[in-house]
């Protein structure tokens, strides 16, 4: 199984990449996706999580083929 992982804005710079593919074999949560791809154990509580382009949270389990995104507070408008 695999998910596509995206990082945006200042998080992309901190993590050092904008996207990654994560392959995994047992069910995992968004937090575990973060830990396995960002190189950081802790997820700052300002980080927002989106799964398949909808807001979600770190404890939600991901499914094969999902798009999982991590980004800082939004600043549009």
């Amino acid at each position: 199984m695999s998910v596509k992982v995206l990082f945006f804005a200042s998080l992309r710079e901190q993590v050092g990449k904008g996207q990654a593919i994560l392959e995994y074999s047992t069910p995992i949560t968004a937090l575990q996706v973060w830990q396995l791809t960002s190189g950081k154990d802790l997820m700052p509580n300002t980080v927002r999580v989106a799964i398949n382009q909808s807001y979600s949270d770190a404890n939600t389990g991901v499914q094969d083929g999902d798009e999982v995104a991590f980004f800082p507070p939004v600043t549009g408008g």
């Binding site: 939004v74 549009g76 408008g77």
Partner: protein, 147 residues
């Protein structure tokens, strides 16, 4: 009608509204009240001179999120039409960043929906501002203020 658009080139709010109003579904004599908000890039922020800005966004999610938050606001207010255009890419001070226009039979709904759309957009739409200061430094804007 709900029309949501990301604009990679110069955003002309009034032209965007006029094009929207020229559609056959737009019945100008039906609405009475039109509330508009235009957000423009300033040349200063947190005490520093800002000379340029990059507007990053999450392609796909941004459009979905704008659509979803608009539908939610339309559940609360009797509104006929909503137009939202938002810049993406590189901009300079005085450039329009966003226009939100709402048409309703009543001014109360038009004002309230326009305001609530702006608040929801600021809170939920995945855009990020990357400022270039006059000394060449670049920095991310860290958070939006509540309106």
């Amino acid at each position: 009608m709900i029309q949501i658009q990301l604009q990679p080139k110069v955003l002309d709010p009034f032209k965007a509204i006029q094009i929207f109003q020229s559609q056959p579904e737009f019945k100008a004599a039906h609405y009475g009240a039109n509330a508009i908000f235009i957000g423009t890039m300033r040349d200063f922020n947190e005490g520093d001179d800002v000379v340029a800005m990059h507007l990053e966004h999450y392609a796909g999610m941004t459009e979905r999120q704008l659509q979803a938050l608009t539908l939610k606001v339309l559940e609360q207010y009797p509104v006929e039409h909503v137009l939202i255009e938002h810049r993406v890419g590189d901009i300079v001070p005085a450039d329009p960043i966003v226009v939100v226009a709402v048409w309703s039979a009543h001014r109360k709904s038009a004002f309230a929906a326009c305001r609530e759309l702006m608040e929801a957009l600021k809170r939920e739409a995945p855009f990020w501002k990357h400022e270039v200061l006059s000394n060449g430094t670049k920095r991310w804007v860290e958070h939006n203020t509540a309106g």
